[in-house]
Protein backbone atom coordinates (compact mmCIF):
# COMPACT_ATOMS: atom_id res chain seq x y z
CA UNK A 1 0.00 0.00 0.00
CA UNK A 2 1.40 3.34 -1.04
CA UNK A 3 1.32 6.47 1.07
CA UNK A 4 -1.12 8.03 -1.36
CA UNK A 5 -3.47 5.09 -0.91
CA UNK A 6 -3.29 5.26 2.88
CA UNK A 7 -3.99 8.98 2.70
CA UNK A 8 -6.97 8.46 0.42
CA UNK A 9 -8.35 5.68 2.63
CA UNK A 10 -8.09 7.95 5.67
CA UNK A 11 -9.84 10.74 3.78
CA UNK A 12 -12.59 8.36 2.56
CA UNK A 13 -13.18 7.29 6.16
CA UNK A 14 -13.39 10.88 7.36
CA UNK A 15 -15.85 11.87 4.62
CA UNK A 16 -17.99 8.78 5.20
CA UNK A 17 -18.13 9.33 8.94
CA UNK A 18 -19.64 12.79 8.47
CA UNK A 19 -22.69 11.51 6.60
CA UNK A 20 -23.03 8.44 8.82
CA UNK A 21 -22.95 10.65 11.91
CA UNK A 22 -26.06 12.47 10.66
CA UNK A 23 -27.70 9.15 9.75
CA UNK A 24 -27.00 7.69 13.19
CA UNK A 25 -27.75 10.79 15.28
CA UNK A 26 -31.45 10.84 14.44
CA UNK A 27 -31.73 7.12 15.05
CA UNK A 28 -29.84 7.35 18.34
CA UNK A 29 -31.93 10.28 19.57
CA UNK A 30 -35.20 8.44 18.99
CA UNK A 31 -33.87 5.23 20.51
CA UNK A 32 -32.30 6.93 23.51
CA UNK A 33 -35.25 9.15 24.40
CA UNK A 34 -38.34 7.15 23.42
CA UNK A 35 -36.84 3.62 23.48
CA UNK A 36 -38.08 2.95 19.95
CA UNK A 37 -35.71 1.27 17.51
CA UNK A 38 -37.08 2.90 14.39
CA UNK A 39 -36.70 0.47 11.51
CA UNK A 40 -38.35 3.05 9.23
CA UNK A 41 -35.38 5.38 9.69
CA UNK A 42 -33.98 4.28 6.32
CA UNK A 43 -37.31 5.03 4.65
CA UNK A 44 -37.15 8.61 6.02
CA UNK A 45 -33.68 8.90 4.50
CA UNK A 46 -35.07 7.87 1.11
CA UNK A 47 -37.85 10.46 1.35
CA UNK A 48 -35.23 13.12 2.07
CA UNK A 49 -33.30 12.04 -1.01
CA UNK A 50 -36.42 12.33 -3.18
CA UNK A 51 -37.26 15.77 -1.78
CA UNK A 52 -33.85 17.07 -2.82
CA UNK A 53 -34.04 15.29 -6.15
CA UNK A 54 -37.50 16.69 -6.85
CA UNK A 55 -36.60 20.27 -5.94
CA UNK A 56 -33.46 20.05 -8.06
CA UNK A 57 -35.25 18.46 -10.98
CA UNK A 58 -38.27 20.77 -11.14
CA UNK A 59 -36.97 24.09 -9.88
CA UNK A 60 -33.22 23.53 -10.34
CA UNK A 61 -32.78 24.26 -6.66
CA UNK A 62 -29.24 23.77 -5.41
CA UNK A 63 -29.23 20.51 -3.42
CA UNK A 64 -27.53 22.09 -0.40
CA UNK A 65 -30.24 24.77 -0.24
CA UNK A 66 -32.94 22.10 -0.25
CA UNK A 67 -31.66 20.53 2.97
CA UNK A 68 -33.73 22.78 5.30
CA UNK A 69 -36.86 22.06 3.24
CA UNK A 70 -36.20 18.36 3.36
CA UNK A 71 -35.71 18.56 7.13
CA UNK A 72 -38.89 20.56 7.67
CA UNK A 73 -40.94 18.14 5.58
CA UNK A 74 -39.55 15.12 7.41
CA UNK A 75 -40.03 16.77 10.81
CA UNK A 76 -43.71 17.20 10.03
CA UNK A 77 -44.03 13.65 8.75
CA UNK A 78 -42.15 12.19 11.72
CA UNK A 79 -44.23 14.19 14.18
CA UNK A 80 -47.48 13.01 12.59
CA UNK A 81 -46.43 9.37 12.36
CA UNK A 82 -45.42 9.34 16.01
CA UNK A 83 -48.68 10.97 17.05
CA UNK A 84 -50.96 8.86 14.88
CA UNK A 85 -49.28 5.47 15.02
CA UNK A 86 -46.28 4.89 17.20
CA UNK A 87 -47.83 6.60 20.18
CA UNK A 88 -50.60 3.99 20.05
CA UNK A 89 -48.25 1.14 20.89
CA UNK A 90 -45.43 2.83 22.70
CA UNK A 91 -46.03 0.85 25.88
CA UNK A 92 -46.57 -2.47 24.07
CA UNK A 93 -43.81 -5.09 24.12
CA UNK A 94 -40.70 -4.46 22.07
CA UNK A 95 -41.80 -6.79 19.30
CA UNK A 96 -44.83 -4.62 18.52
CA UNK A 97 -42.77 -1.47 18.02
CA UNK A 98 -40.31 -3.42 15.92
CA UNK A 99 -43.01 -4.79 13.66
CA UNK A 100 -44.87 -1.52 13.46
CA UNK A 101 -41.83 0.43 12.32
CA UNK A 102 -40.95 -2.38 9.95
CA UNK A 103 -44.46 -2.28 8.48
CA UNK A 104 -44.02 1.48 8.07
CA UNK A 105 -40.72 0.98 6.28
CA UNK A 106 -42.31 -1.49 3.88
CA UNK A 107 -45.26 0.84 3.34
CA UNK A 108 -43.17 3.94 2.62
CA UNK A 109 -40.66 2.20 0.36
CA UNK A 110 -43.40 0.60 -1.71
CA UNK A 111 -45.37 3.81 -2.01
CA UNK A 112 -42.20 5.51 -3.23
CA UNK A 113 -41.67 2.74 -5.72
CA UNK A 114 -45.26 3.09 -6.84
CA UNK A 115 -44.93 6.83 -7.46
CA UNK A 116 -41.34 7.11 -8.64
CA UNK A 117 -40.87 3.65 -10.19
CA UNK A 118 -37.69 1.75 -9.48
CA UNK A 119 -35.70 4.15 -11.71
CA UNK A 120 -32.29 5.12 -10.44
CA UNK A 121 -31.88 8.85 -9.77
CA UNK A 122 -28.93 11.13 -9.22
CA UNK A 123 -28.64 14.81 -8.40
CA UNK A 124 -26.10 16.29 -10.80
CA UNK A 125 -24.79 19.82 -10.27
CA UNK A 126 -22.17 21.92 -12.01
CA UNK A 127 -19.73 21.10 -9.21
CA UNK A 128 -20.46 17.33 -9.13
CA UNK A 129 -17.23 15.42 -9.62
CA UNK A 130 -14.97 18.42 -9.01
CA UNK A 131 -12.48 17.82 -6.26
CA UNK A 132 -9.85 19.50 -4.15
CA UNK A 133 -6.41 17.92 -4.54
CA UNK A 134 -4.38 17.63 -1.34
CA UNK A 135 -1.26 16.23 -2.97
CA UNK A 136 -2.30 12.79 -4.25
CA UNK A 137 -5.41 12.72 -2.05
CA UNK A 138 -8.67 13.83 -3.64
CA UNK A 139 -11.45 15.52 -1.70
CA UNK A 140 -14.63 15.89 -3.79
CA UNK A 141 -16.26 19.27 -3.09
CA UNK A 142 -19.68 17.72 -2.59
CA UNK A 143 -18.44 15.35 0.05
CA UNK A 144 -16.50 18.17 1.68
CA UNK A 145 -19.70 20.22 1.71
CA UNK A 146 -21.57 17.25 3.16
CA UNK A 147 -18.98 16.98 5.91
CA UNK A 148 -19.45 20.69 6.64
CA UNK A 149 -23.23 20.31 6.83
CA UNK A 150 -22.83 17.28 9.10
CA UNK A 151 -20.59 19.21 11.50
CA UNK A 152 -23.06 22.10 11.51
CA UNK A 153 -26.00 19.80 12.25
CA UNK A 154 -24.13 18.03 15.03
CA UNK A 155 -23.25 21.34 16.67
CA UNK A 156 -26.81 22.63 16.31
CA UNK A 157 -28.27 19.47 17.84
CA UNK A 158 -25.81 19.52 20.72
CA UNK A 159 -26.59 23.18 21.39
CA UNK A 160 -30.33 22.54 21.16
CA UNK A 161 -30.23 19.64 23.60
CA UNK A 162 -28.10 21.42 26.18
CA UNK A 163 -29.09 25.08 25.86
CA UNK A 164 -32.77 25.27 24.98
CA UNK A 165 -35.68 24.62 27.32
CA UNK A 166 -37.25 22.13 24.96
CA UNK A 167 -33.94 20.35 24.53
CA UNK A 168 -33.55 20.04 28.28
CA UNK A 169 -37.11 18.73 28.56
CA UNK A 170 -36.32 16.10 25.93
CA UNK A 171 -33.24 14.97 27.82
CA UNK A 172 -35.09 14.93 31.10
CA UNK A 173 -37.81 12.73 29.56
CA UNK A 174 -35.17 10.39 28.21
CA UNK A 175 -33.61 10.00 31.64
CA UNK A 176 -36.78 9.50 33.66
CA UNK A 177 -40.24 9.71 32.11
CA UNK A 178 -42.14 9.78 35.39
CA UNK A 179 -39.94 12.45 36.92
CA UNK A 180 -40.28 14.54 33.78
CA UNK A 181 -44.06 14.18 33.87
CA UNK A 182 -44.13 15.31 37.48
CA UNK A 183 -42.30 18.49 36.55
CA UNK A 184 -44.99 19.30 34.02
CA UNK A 185 -43.43 17.99 30.81
CA UNK A 186 -46.03 16.81 28.26
CA UNK A 187 -44.42 13.45 27.52
CA UNK A 188 -46.51 12.60 24.45
CA UNK A 189 -45.62 15.92 22.83
CA UNK A 190 -41.96 15.57 23.72
CA UNK A 191 -41.91 12.09 22.18
CA UNK A 192 -43.53 13.35 18.99
CA UNK A 193 -41.06 16.24 18.74
CA UNK A 194 -38.13 13.90 19.36
CA UNK A 195 -39.37 11.58 16.64
CA UNK A 196 -39.79 14.57 14.34
CA UNK A 197 -36.20 15.69 14.98
CA UNK A 198 -34.96 12.17 14.31
CA UNK A 199 -36.87 12.11 11.03
CA UNK A 200 -35.57 15.59 10.13
CA UNK A 201 -31.99 14.40 10.62
CA UNK A 202 -32.76 11.38 8.44
CA UNK A 203 -34.11 13.81 5.83
CA UNK A 204 -30.89 15.82 5.93
CA UNK A 205 -28.88 12.62 5.56
CA UNK A 206 -31.04 11.63 2.59
CA UNK A 207 -30.48 15.02 0.94
CA UNK A 208 -26.73 14.63 1.38
CA UNK A 209 -26.75 11.04 0.09
CA UNK A 210 -28.74 12.03 -2.99
CA UNK A 211 -25.76 14.14 -4.10
CA UNK A 212 -23.24 11.42 -3.32
CA UNK A 213 -24.73 8.15 -4.59
CA UNK A 214 -27.21 7.20 -7.30
CA UNK A 215 -30.34 6.01 -5.50
CA UNK A 216 -33.73 4.34 -5.83
CA UNK A 217 -36.42 3.54 -3.23
CA UNK A 218 -34.22 0.78 -1.78
CA UNK A 219 -31.51 3.20 -0.66
CA UNK A 220 -32.44 3.25 3.01
CA UNK A 221 -32.33 -0.28 4.43
CA UNK A 222 -28.57 -0.50 4.61
CA UNK A 223 -28.42 2.77 6.51
CA UNK A 224 -30.81 1.60 9.23
CA UNK A 225 -28.49 -1.33 9.84
CA UNK A 226 -25.46 0.94 9.89
CA UNK A 227 -27.16 3.35 12.27
CA UNK A 228 -27.81 0.49 14.65
CA UNK A 229 -24.25 -0.77 14.53
CA UNK A 230 -22.95 2.75 15.13
CA UNK A 231 -25.21 3.15 18.15
CA UNK A 232 -23.99 -0.15 19.57
CA UNK A 233 -20.38 0.79 18.89
CA UNK A 234 -20.58 4.25 20.35
CA UNK A 235 -23.47 3.97 22.74
CA UNK A 236 -26.46 6.22 23.11
CA UNK A 237 -24.97 8.34 25.86
CA UNK A 238 -24.67 11.64 24.03
CA UNK A 239 -23.83 13.30 20.74
CA UNK A 240 -20.11 12.68 21.19
CA UNK A 241 -20.70 8.94 21.68
CA UNK A 242 -22.57 8.71 18.39
CA UNK A 243 -19.82 10.64 16.61
CA UNK A 244 -17.20 8.27 17.99
CA UNK A 245 -19.30 5.30 16.86
CA UNK A 246 -19.67 6.74 13.37
CA UNK A 247 -15.93 7.37 13.11
CA UNK A 248 -15.00 3.88 14.32
CA UNK A 249 -17.52 2.23 12.02
CA UNK A 250 -16.35 4.27 9.00
CA UNK A 251 -12.73 3.26 9.52
CA UNK A 252 -13.70 -0.42 9.68
CA UNK A 253 -15.94 -0.22 6.61
CA UNK A 254 -13.38 1.61 4.50
CA UNK A 255 -10.38 -0.49 5.52
CA UNK A 256 -12.16 -3.85 5.19
CA UNK A 257 -13.74 -2.69 1.95
CA UNK A 258 -10.37 -1.93 0.39
CA UNK A 259 -8.75 -5.20 1.48
CA UNK A 260 -11.50 -7.85 1.48
CA UNK A 261 -14.49 -6.35 -0.33
CA UNK A 262 -16.38 -9.62 -0.76
CA UNK A 263 -16.35 -10.24 3.00
CA UNK A 264 -16.96 -6.67 4.10
CA UNK A 265 -20.55 -7.23 5.23
CA UNK A 266 -19.83 -10.58 6.85
CA UNK A 267 -17.03 -8.96 8.84
CA UNK A 268 -19.14 -5.96 9.80
CA UNK A 269 -21.98 -8.12 11.10
CA UNK A 270 -19.59 -10.55 12.73
CA UNK A 271 -18.03 -7.61 14.52
CA UNK A 272 -21.45 -6.45 15.71
CA UNK A 273 -22.35 -9.86 17.12
CA UNK A 274 -18.97 -10.28 18.77
CA UNK A 275 -19.18 -6.83 20.28
CA UNK A 276 -22.62 -7.55 21.68
CA UNK A 277 -21.47 -10.90 23.01
CA UNK A 278 -18.61 -9.26 24.89
CA UNK A 279 -20.68 -6.31 26.16
CA UNK A 280 -24.24 -7.63 26.56
CA UNK A 281 -25.49 -4.34 27.99
CA UNK A 282 -24.24 -2.51 24.93
CA UNK A 283 -21.27 -0.22 25.00
CA UNK A 284 -22.77 2.62 26.98
CA UNK A 285 -25.82 3.51 29.02
CA UNK A 286 -29.32 4.03 27.77
CA UNK A 287 -30.37 7.62 28.16
CA UNK A 288 -29.45 10.45 25.86
CA UNK A 289 -27.93 13.25 27.86
Amino acid sequence: MSGAEVGQIAMNALLLSGVLAVVALGFALVWGITNIVNLAHGAFIVIGAYVTFGLHDFWSMDPFLSIPISMAALFALGFLIQRALINQIIRAPLLATFLLTFGLESLIVNLLRFFFRADTRSVMTAYSGAALALGPVRVPYIRLGALGVSILLVLLLAAFLTRSRLGRAIRATGMDVDAARLTGVKVATVYAITFGIGAALAGAAGSLLSMIVPFDPNLGGGYTERAFIICVLGGLGNVVNVLAGAAAYSVVEVVVGSRLPAFSQAITFGMLVLLLAVRPQGIAGKAFS
Binding site: L104, F269, V273
Partner: protein, 322 residues
Protein backbone atom coordinates in the same frame (compact mmCIF):
# COMPACT_ATOMS: atom_id res chain seq x y z
CA UNK B 1 -65.52 -34.05 22.87
CA UNK B 2 -66.73 -31.54 20.30
CA UNK B 3 -63.15 -30.40 20.13
CA UNK B 4 -61.85 -33.89 19.33
CA UNK B 5 -64.44 -34.28 16.56
CA UNK B 6 -63.46 -30.92 15.11
CA UNK B 7 -59.80 -31.89 15.17
CA UNK B 8 -60.48 -35.22 13.49
CA UNK B 9 -62.50 -33.52 10.75
CA UNK B 10 -59.80 -30.91 10.15
CA UNK B 11 -57.08 -33.53 10.03
CA UNK B 12 -59.07 -35.74 7.64
CA UNK B 13 -59.69 -32.74 5.40
CA UNK B 14 -56.00 -31.88 5.41
CA UNK B 15 -55.12 -35.47 4.50
CA UNK B 16 -57.57 -35.41 1.61
CA UNK B 17 -56.45 -32.06 0.21
CA UNK B 18 -53.92 -33.45 -2.32
CA UNK B 19 -56.58 -35.47 -4.12
CA UNK B 20 -58.86 -32.45 -4.36
CA UNK B 21 -56.65 -29.65 -5.61
CA UNK B 22 -54.24 -29.14 -8.49
CA UNK B 23 -50.52 -29.65 -7.98
CA UNK B 24 -49.96 -25.89 -8.15
CA UNK B 25 -52.50 -25.12 -5.45
CA UNK B 26 -50.93 -27.88 -3.40
CA UNK B 27 -47.59 -26.08 -3.66
CA UNK B 28 -49.08 -22.98 -2.06
CA UNK B 29 -50.49 -25.17 0.73
CA UNK B 30 -47.07 -26.67 1.27
CA UNK B 31 -45.63 -23.15 1.48
CA UNK B 32 -48.20 -22.35 4.16
CA UNK B 33 -47.24 -25.49 6.08
CA UNK B 34 -43.55 -24.59 5.88
CA UNK B 35 -44.38 -21.12 7.18
CA UNK B 36 -46.37 -22.75 9.98
CA UNK B 37 -43.33 -24.84 10.84
CA UNK B 38 -41.06 -21.80 11.01
CA UNK B 39 -43.66 -19.96 13.08
CA UNK B 40 -43.99 -22.88 15.49
CA UNK B 41 -40.25 -22.74 16.00
CA UNK B 42 -40.18 -18.99 16.48
CA UNK B 43 -43.05 -19.26 18.93
CA UNK B 44 -40.88 -21.23 21.36
CA UNK B 45 -38.21 -18.55 21.67
CA UNK B 46 -40.22 -15.45 20.71
CA UNK B 47 -43.63 -16.43 22.11
CA UNK B 48 -43.13 -18.56 25.22
CA UNK B 49 -39.68 -17.32 26.25
CA UNK B 50 -40.31 -13.74 25.11
CA UNK B 51 -37.02 -13.23 23.28
CA UNK B 52 -37.54 -11.19 20.10
CA UNK B 53 -35.43 -13.32 17.77
CA UNK B 54 -34.97 -11.50 14.47
CA UNK B 55 -32.63 -13.89 12.78
CA UNK B 56 -34.34 -17.29 12.68
CA UNK B 57 -34.01 -17.24 8.92
CA UNK B 58 -30.36 -18.17 9.54
CA UNK B 59 -31.59 -21.64 10.49
CA UNK B 60 -33.91 -21.88 7.51
CA UNK B 61 -30.86 -21.27 5.33
CA UNK B 62 -28.62 -23.64 7.27
CA UNK B 63 -31.31 -26.31 7.09
CA UNK B 64 -31.63 -25.82 3.34
CA UNK B 65 -27.89 -25.98 2.74
CA UNK B 66 -27.32 -28.93 5.08
CA UNK B 67 -30.14 -30.94 3.49
CA UNK B 68 -28.95 -30.09 0.00
CA UNK B 69 -25.25 -30.68 0.60
CA UNK B 70 -25.88 -34.02 2.31
CA UNK B 71 -28.09 -35.20 -0.55
CA UNK B 72 -25.48 -34.09 -3.08
CA UNK B 73 -22.53 -35.47 -1.11
CA UNK B 74 -20.86 -38.66 -2.16
CA UNK B 75 -22.96 -40.59 0.37
CA UNK B 76 -26.15 -39.48 -1.41
CA UNK B 77 -28.01 -39.28 1.89
CA UNK B 78 -31.77 -39.77 1.32
CA UNK B 79 -34.03 -36.78 1.98
CA UNK B 80 -35.59 -37.72 5.30
CA UNK B 81 -32.34 -38.57 7.12
CA UNK B 82 -30.77 -35.48 5.55
CA UNK B 83 -33.63 -33.39 6.92
CA UNK B 84 -33.15 -34.76 10.43
CA UNK B 85 -29.42 -34.17 10.18
CA UNK B 86 -30.15 -30.60 9.10
CA UNK B 87 -32.38 -30.09 12.13
CA UNK B 88 -29.62 -31.45 14.36
CA UNK B 89 -26.90 -29.30 12.79
CA UNK B 90 -29.08 -26.21 13.14
CA UNK B 91 -29.88 -26.98 16.76
CA UNK B 92 -26.18 -27.44 17.55
CA UNK B 93 -25.25 -24.19 15.83
CA UNK B 94 -28.07 -22.43 17.63
CA UNK B 95 -26.70 -23.73 20.93
CA UNK B 96 -23.24 -22.40 20.16
CA UNK B 97 -24.59 -19.03 19.02
CA UNK B 98 -27.26 -18.90 21.71
CA UNK B 99 -24.94 -19.17 24.68
CA UNK B 100 -23.37 -15.73 24.14
CA UNK B 101 -26.23 -14.06 22.28
CA UNK B 102 -28.99 -15.04 24.73
CA UNK B 103 -27.21 -13.05 27.42
CA UNK B 104 -28.42 -9.98 25.55
CA UNK B 105 -31.77 -8.40 26.18
CA UNK B 106 -34.40 -6.50 24.23
CA UNK B 107 -33.25 -4.60 21.18
CA UNK B 108 -29.71 -5.82 21.54
CA UNK B 109 -30.77 -9.45 21.31
CA UNK B 110 -33.01 -8.72 18.34
CA UNK B 111 -30.29 -7.01 16.38
CA UNK B 112 -27.61 -9.50 17.35
CA UNK B 113 -29.73 -12.31 15.89
CA UNK B 114 -30.34 -10.17 12.81
CA UNK B 115 -26.58 -9.77 12.55
CA UNK B 116 -26.09 -13.53 12.89
CA UNK B 117 -28.48 -14.12 9.98
CA UNK B 118 -26.77 -11.53 7.80
CA UNK B 119 -23.35 -12.93 8.64
CA UNK B 120 -24.48 -16.43 7.63
CA UNK B 121 -25.86 -15.11 4.36
CA UNK B 122 -22.58 -13.39 3.58
CA UNK B 123 -20.64 -16.51 4.51
CA UNK B 124 -22.82 -18.59 2.20
CA UNK B 125 -22.18 -16.06 -0.60
CA UNK B 126 -18.46 -15.90 -0.07
CA UNK B 127 -17.56 -19.51 0.83
CA UNK B 128 -17.28 -20.78 -2.74
CA UNK B 129 -15.75 -24.17 -1.96
CA UNK B 130 -18.57 -25.35 0.25
CA UNK B 131 -21.68 -23.53 -0.92
CA UNK B 132 -20.75 -22.69 -4.50
CA UNK B 133 -21.07 -19.02 -3.52
CA UNK B 134 -23.69 -16.78 -5.02
CA UNK B 135 -24.39 -19.35 -7.75
CA UNK B 136 -25.91 -21.76 -5.26
CA UNK B 137 -26.41 -25.52 -5.30
CA UNK B 138 -28.90 -27.70 -7.18
CA UNK B 139 -30.72 -30.61 -5.60
CA UNK B 140 -31.98 -33.72 -7.38
CA UNK B 141 -35.35 -33.18 -9.05
CA UNK B 142 -38.44 -34.68 -7.41
CA UNK B 143 -41.71 -33.78 -9.04
CA UNK B 144 -44.12 -35.35 -6.56
CA UNK B 145 -45.82 -32.37 -4.95
CA UNK B 146 -47.89 -34.63 -2.65
CA UNK B 147 -44.72 -35.94 -1.07
CA UNK B 148 -43.68 -32.46 0.08
CA UNK B 149 -47.16 -31.69 1.31
CA UNK B 150 -47.36 -34.81 3.46
CA UNK B 151 -43.87 -34.39 4.89
CA UNK B 152 -44.65 -30.79 5.84
CA UNK B 153 -48.06 -31.74 7.24
CA UNK B 154 -46.57 -34.52 9.36
CA UNK B 155 -43.98 -32.14 10.79
CA UNK B 156 -46.55 -29.43 11.53
CA UNK B 157 -48.81 -31.94 13.32
CA UNK B 158 -45.75 -33.19 15.19
CA UNK B 159 -44.96 -29.57 16.04
CA UNK B 160 -48.43 -29.03 17.50
CA UNK B 161 -48.12 -32.15 19.66
CA UNK B 162 -44.62 -31.20 20.84
CA UNK B 163 -45.66 -27.62 21.62
CA UNK B 164 -48.73 -28.82 23.55
CA UNK B 165 -46.56 -31.25 25.55
CA UNK B 166 -43.87 -28.66 26.23
CA UNK B 167 -46.42 -26.08 27.29
CA UNK B 168 -47.32 -28.26 30.26
CA UNK B 169 -43.79 -29.39 31.06
CA UNK B 170 -41.18 -28.01 33.40
CA UNK B 171 -39.44 -26.54 30.36
CA UNK B 172 -42.57 -24.70 29.20
CA UNK B 173 -43.35 -23.27 32.63
CA UNK B 174 -39.73 -22.20 32.89
CA UNK B 175 -39.92 -20.36 29.57
CA UNK B 176 -43.02 -18.46 30.61
CA UNK B 177 -41.41 -17.62 33.94
CA UNK B 178 -38.40 -16.21 32.10
CA UNK B 179 -40.68 -14.17 29.83
CA UNK B 180 -42.59 -12.70 32.77
CA UNK B 181 -39.58 -11.94 34.97
CA UNK B 182 -36.16 -13.34 34.34
CA UNK B 183 -34.70 -12.41 37.72
CA UNK B 184 -37.61 -13.92 39.57
CA UNK B 185 -37.29 -17.07 37.45
CA UNK B 186 -33.63 -17.31 38.39
CA UNK B 187 -34.51 -16.98 42.05
CA UNK B 188 -36.99 -19.81 41.67
CA UNK B 189 -34.00 -21.95 40.77
CA UNK B 190 -34.51 -22.03 37.00
CA UNK B 191 -31.24 -22.25 35.10
CA UNK B 192 -32.23 -19.50 32.71
CA UNK B 193 -29.32 -20.02 30.33
CA UNK B 194 -30.12 -23.71 29.79
CA UNK B 195 -33.83 -22.99 29.34
CA UNK B 196 -33.29 -20.15 26.89
CA UNK B 197 -30.71 -22.06 24.86
CA UNK B 198 -33.07 -25.05 24.71
CA UNK B 199 -35.84 -22.84 23.32
CA UNK B 200 -33.48 -21.30 20.79
CA UNK B 201 -32.09 -24.67 19.66
CA UNK B 202 -35.57 -26.16 19.27
CA UNK B 203 -36.74 -23.15 17.29
CA UNK B 204 -33.72 -23.59 15.02
CA UNK B 205 -34.58 -27.26 14.43
CA UNK B 206 -38.10 -26.32 13.30
CA UNK B 207 -36.77 -23.64 10.96
CA UNK B 208 -34.22 -26.06 9.52
CA UNK B 209 -36.95 -28.60 8.68
CA UNK B 210 -38.90 -25.92 6.82
CA UNK B 211 -35.73 -24.84 5.00
CA UNK B 212 -34.93 -28.42 3.97
CA UNK B 213 -38.40 -29.04 2.57
CA UNK B 214 -38.42 -25.76 0.63
CA UNK B 215 -34.93 -26.51 -0.70
CA UNK B 216 -35.88 -29.95 -2.00
CA UNK B 217 -39.10 -28.64 -3.49
CA UNK B 218 -37.48 -25.61 -5.15
CA UNK B 219 -34.45 -27.67 -6.23
CA UNK B 220 -32.14 -24.67 -6.10
CA UNK B 221 -30.51 -23.19 -2.97
CA UNK B 222 -28.83 -19.79 -3.26
CA UNK B 223 -27.88 -17.41 -0.43
CA UNK B 224 -30.25 -14.59 -1.30
CA UNK B 225 -33.24 -16.90 -1.74
CA UNK B 226 -32.91 -18.55 1.65
CA UNK B 227 -31.21 -16.11 4.02
CA UNK B 228 -33.78 -13.40 3.44
CA UNK B 229 -35.27 -11.30 6.18
CA UNK B 230 -38.75 -11.79 4.68
CA UNK B 231 -38.87 -15.32 6.12
CA UNK B 232 -38.06 -14.01 9.59
CA UNK B 233 -40.78 -11.40 9.30
CA UNK B 234 -43.31 -13.84 7.92
CA UNK B 235 -42.83 -16.25 10.80
CA UNK B 236 -43.17 -13.47 13.34
CA UNK B 237 -46.21 -12.02 11.60
CA UNK B 238 -47.80 -15.48 11.44
CA UNK B 239 -47.28 -15.81 15.21
CA UNK B 240 -48.70 -12.34 15.88
CA UNK B 241 -51.73 -12.96 13.69
CA UNK B 242 -52.44 -16.28 15.36
CA UNK B 243 -51.28 -15.39 18.84
CA UNK B 244 -47.81 -15.71 20.37
CA UNK B 245 -47.18 -18.19 23.14
CA UNK B 246 -50.09 -20.43 22.21
CA UNK B 247 -50.17 -23.93 20.71
CA UNK B 248 -52.55 -23.13 17.86
CA UNK B 249 -51.52 -19.56 17.14
CA UNK B 250 -48.62 -20.23 14.76
CA UNK B 251 -50.36 -22.73 12.43
CA UNK B 252 -53.58 -20.68 12.38
CA UNK B 253 -51.61 -17.47 11.81
CA UNK B 254 -49.59 -19.06 9.01
CA UNK B 255 -52.74 -20.22 7.25
CA UNK B 256 -54.40 -16.82 7.59
CA UNK B 257 -51.26 -15.00 6.49
CA UNK B 258 -50.92 -17.20 3.42
CA UNK B 259 -54.58 -16.69 2.52
CA UNK B 260 -54.34 -12.93 2.97
CA UNK B 261 -51.11 -12.76 1.04
CA UNK B 262 -52.50 -14.76 -1.88
CA UNK B 263 -55.66 -12.67 -1.91
CA UNK B 264 -53.82 -9.35 -1.74
CA UNK B 265 -51.38 -10.54 -4.34
CA UNK B 266 -54.07 -11.38 -6.85
CA UNK B 267 -56.10 -8.23 -6.25
CA UNK B 268 -53.56 -5.48 -5.56
CA UNK B 269 -50.63 -6.55 -7.69
CA UNK B 270 -48.65 -3.30 -7.66
CA UNK B 271 -49.45 -2.37 -4.10
CA UNK B 272 -49.03 -5.85 -2.66
CA UNK B 273 -46.20 -5.04 -0.19
CA UNK B 274 -47.93 -1.80 0.77
CA UNK B 275 -51.16 -3.55 1.64
CA UNK B 276 -49.26 -6.14 3.64
CA UNK B 277 -47.48 -3.31 5.47
CA UNK B 278 -50.85 -1.82 6.39
CA UNK B 279 -52.13 -5.22 7.55
CA UNK B 280 -49.13 -5.66 9.82
CA UNK B 281 -49.73 -2.23 11.31
CA UNK B 282 -53.43 -2.93 11.86
CA UNK B 283 -52.73 -6.24 13.57
CA UNK B 284 -50.01 -4.79 15.79
CA UNK B 285 -52.19 -1.87 16.85
CA UNK B 286 -55.60 -3.53 17.21
CA UNK B 287 -54.97 -7.22 17.82
CA UNK B 288 -51.52 -7.51 19.35
CA UNK B 289 -52.49 -10.77 21.04
CA UNK B 290 -53.70 -12.36 17.85
CA UNK B 291 -56.66 -14.31 16.56
CA UNK B 292 -56.52 -17.00 19.25
CA UNK B 293 -57.17 -14.28 21.82
CA UNK B 294 -60.07 -13.02 19.70
CA UNK B 295 -61.50 -16.57 19.43
CA UNK B 296 -61.28 -16.97 23.19
CA UNK B 297 -63.19 -13.75 23.68
CA UNK B 298 -65.79 -14.79 21.13
CA UNK B 299 -66.17 -18.12 22.89
CA UNK B 300 -66.71 -16.16 26.09
CA UNK B 301 -69.46 -14.22 24.31
CA UNK B 302 -71.11 -17.49 23.36
CA UNK B 303 -71.18 -18.32 27.04
CA UNK B 304 -72.98 -15.06 27.73
CA UNK B 305 -70.14 -12.55 27.91
CA UNK B 306 -70.06 -9.16 26.29
CA UNK B 307 -68.30 -8.40 23.05
CA UNK B 308 -67.92 -5.30 20.97
CA UNK B 309 -65.51 -3.03 19.26
CA UNK B 310 -64.27 -2.07 22.71
CA UNK B 311 -62.14 -5.23 22.65
CA UNK B 312 -59.97 -3.63 19.98
CA UNK B 313 -60.02 -0.27 21.67
CA UNK B 314 -58.95 -1.87 24.92
CA UNK B 315 -55.95 -3.31 23.13
CA UNK B 316 -55.08 0.13 21.85
CA UNK B 317 -55.63 1.80 25.20
CA UNK B 318 -53.38 -0.72 26.92
CA UNK B 319 -50.33 0.35 24.97
CA UNK B 320 -50.80 3.96 23.99
CA UNK B 321 -49.39 6.96 25.74
CA UNK B 322 -51.84 9.68 26.72
Amino acid sequence: MARAVLLAVVLAALLLVPSLVSPYTLLTYTSALCLALMAQGWNLIGGYTGYAAFGNVAFVGIGAYTTGLLMLSRWHVPFVPALFAAALVSALLATVIGIPVLRLKGHYFAIATLGVAEAFREIASAWDDLTNGATGIDLPVRSDSRFFYYVALALVVGGIVITARLERSKLGYGWVAIREDQDAARMLGIDTTVFKVAAFALSAAFAACAGGIIAYQDIHVAPDDFFKIEYTLQMIIACIIGGTGTVWGPPVGAAVYQLLSTYVWSHFLELHPTVLGVLIILFVVFLPRGLMDLFRRMAAVARGGRFGSDVFLANVRASRLE
